[in-house]
Symmetry: C2
Subunit: 239 residues, 2 copies
DNA sequence: CGTTGTTTTGACACTAGTCAATGGGTGTGG
DNA sequence: CCACACCCATTGACTAGTGTCAAAACAACG
């Protein structure tokens, strides 16, 4: 009974400036648009792809959110990242053509698929597209470095605060409120992502509440004092 | 008094299959070679570049080793990665043209410089080169994911064992022994990289020695039982 | 041979993990 | 409409693993 999503084009998509079309001429966007395949929306928990599967295309998040994870030898899931609208999924597979992680939907979510062979053809024809893809790959590396910095350094409090600020920033860039948002993932995923236990996530959120920095109601987060939250992570910032 | 390094070309460089020329035709490699600038070797501690500096080119490690790091607001250095011969430095700067980290030499080391504007021109002309650059960017993302997995999950023992195995693999790929090698970085850098204290690094190395898995003499590491070392990290492996 | 920087070792403290129990929302079926 | 079950989140008690601080051992260097 899921309603058919409105057929948006890259030209009318409000995400296009965050996504692959950024920096392209209108006629170039129109050419890109032709190769895009719209997949049916995925529901909570449905897999977009699994690790070691052959990569036939990249995915751009249109609506909803996704989670990247791997499963270790003991069967425990390790969450490695989250994807919000406008973000590209599958960049790690460009190396040898296979996905190195699994990705599932955190809620009802939809993606645009960019078939690899056609994307490569197009990149060869449109230098701006190749350029933008390279920029996105490079940005992903920078984001990873920031995550590694966060993981290797910091206390639980700083990790949780940074996580909230990161989401705030990403939601803000999407045009949503950067002080009120709903977490689409359970505590367990945040914990795994930050290298903490879910009990610690709970406790840190409770502490931030008691300091009147945020207020939490289940998955709903409100940042009541953004500057105080930024002050929490101050000692770990690089300059 | 540093001796002038022998003027190697990409065609005769034994690293070329690990580096940017991989997959190129001979005439393509010859074209690539023209744009490469040889910089004077750097000594221990010398900076290749610093964070926020404008990126004029990428660097490929020719000899020695480098360290990527940032400095936080309290002045503490956080090591984020190491570069061995054949590896490309500066990929994070392709996003907006500025380096996001600083890089210094861990020993007397040399690099080939690839000026960005000329590299971009060449990528437009040689599809194989563009393809290889994309592959290298993607591989860097996968490597980052592995590092994030390591950092967010694991005990000090597993981190140290994984670090040793990672070096073993990289030295092996370079044609060096994968059971005997010298660490080019002090314990403090390893500690910072793994999100541990340097005392913990010492203690874990001592423990691995007592279990007859490795032997350590200052910076010299010998892996005496590779399969035991692999067994140490078994529970954290993904499948 | 002394100086300096790095590594190792020891003692202790503290953060975060584990285990267990409780609380709260949501959805289903009687 | 309510009762129950289930899942997720929270809280508490306790423990284990690392960090911190300090001192000693060691290597490199002038």
């Amino acid at each position: 009974m899921t309603p058919t999503p409105p057929k948006t084009t890259c030209l009318t998509c409000r995400l296009s400036d965050l996504c692959l079309p950024f920096g392209l001429q209108i006629d170039e966007v129109e050419t890109l648009e032709i190769i895009i395949k719209n997949k049916r929306p995925l529901r909570l928990g449905e897999l977009l792809f699994t690790k070691d599967e052959q990569c036939l295309g990249l995915f751009a998040v249109k609506t909803g959110s996704f989670r990247r994870f791997v499963i270790n030898t003991e069967g425990v899931e390790q969450t490695l990242g989250f994807y919000l609208p406008g973000e590209l999924i599958g960049l790690d597979a460009l190396f040898d053509g296979n996905f190195t992680c699994s990705v599932d939907a955190l809620e009802t979510s939809s993606v645009c698929e960019l078939p690899l062979t056609r994307l490569n053809e197009l990149c060869a024809k449109i230098p701006n597209l190749q350029y933008q893809l390279t920029r996105i790959l490079s940005k992903e590396i920078t984001t990873n470095h920031e995550q590694m910095f966060l993981l290797s350094n910091n206390s639980a409090k700083i990790k949780v605060a940074t996580f909230l600020l990161m989401l705030s920033k990403r939601y803000g860039a999407l045009g949503y409120s950067h002080t009120h948002f709903n977490l689409s993932m359970p505590r367990q995923n945040i914990a795994s992502f930050l290298g903490l236990s879910n009990e610690t996530i709970s406790r840190q959120l409770t502490l931030l509440c008691k300091e009147n920095i945020i207020s939490v109601n289940q998955r709903a987060i409100q940042i009541t004092d953004l500057s105080l939250l930024q002050a929490v992570i101050e000692p770990c910032h690089s300059h």
